[in-house]
């Protein structure tokens, strides 16, 4: 059985822009404390921040669960949001459904999901319109198939 180094969760609240980045910042500190390499921590932090922003921008609330084993970092973010009708379209760089006021803040440029995918070794999105979205991010500790997955 794979040895678990660490696991935990953060609650995310939709519209809470002031605290955006708090979960990713804390996860970055936790991963750094576990002695995980800088590049892996950087990738996990970027992917987590983007996932956190998606919840804050689009959903009423969400939860971020993480677990770390010697083989991989797994981050799962589930939200109670509007859901994504066309995941392929949402993955297109530059496509966004964020409102104008969010875009004026410099978010909603349609880079979030592509950024998450770029920083993951495995990446999966599941969504039900009207119910919510779950994304799973896997970052492998040793090398891996960067950029793969859906």
């Amino acid at each position: 059985m794979t040895r678990q180094l660490c696991e935990g969760s953060f609650h995310l609240v939709g519209g809470e822009f002031t605290h955006a980045g708090a979960a990713s910042s804390e996860l970055k500190a936790i991963l750094t404390g576990l002695g995980i390499g800088t590049d892996l921590v950087r990738r996990a932090a970027i992917a987590t921040f983007e996932a956190e922003m998606n919840v804050i921008i689009h959903a009423a609330a969400g939860v971020l669960n993480y677990s770390v084993t010697p083989e991989r970092i797994q981050i799962v973010v589930s939200d109670m949001g509007p859901g994504i009708p066309d995941i392929g379209l949402a993955m297109t760089e530059g496509y966004s459904t964020a409102p104008d006021w969010v875009r004026e803040m410099g978010w909603g440029a349609g880079m979030g999901l592509p950024n998450i995918k770029k920083n993951s070794d495995r990446f999966r999105v599941e969504s039900v319109v009207g119910e919510g979205t779950t994304i799973e991010i896997i970052i492998l500790m040793k090398g891996g198939d960067a950029g793969e997955g859906e």
Partner: protein, 111 residues
């Protein structure tokens, strides 16, 4: 070149993290899109932007940037300053445009 040197040479008003200006700058990234900065800014760079809200501090801290320069005489929000002080991110204000600030910094770092 260090943060305090560019602050002096570009006549920037330093609003936060006065004790953290001794850091060497590796370069500069200019963008008002936060995802773009997260994707492309590099460790130790200064970030020039028009954005003034607290998320610029979270992004700068996450990317381990040397500081933020807010251009065009724009004032950061109170919460931005509080967060920047807590995260020890220097927030520097420029009365010049992004073009002029970036151009002057380019001359200092690359010429």
């Amino acid at each position: 070149m260090k943060v305090n040197e560019i602050a002096g040479k570009l006549c920037l008003r330093v609003n936060t993290a006065q004790g953290d200006l001794d850091r060497e700058i590796t370069g500069c990234y200019i963008s008002d899109l936060l995802s773009d900065v997260m994707a492309n800014a590099q460790d130790g760079e200064v970030w020039i932007t028009l954005q003034t809200h607290p998320n610029i501090v979270a992004v700068a801290a996450l990317k381990n940037l040397a500081g933020n320069i807010i251009t065009n005489n724009r004032s950061p929000e109170e919460e931005t300053l509080k967060k920047a002080e807590a995260e020890r991110i220097p927030i520097m204000l420029s009365s010049s445009s992004t073009f002029e600030t970036g151009g002057s910094l380019y001359r200092l770092l690359r010429c």
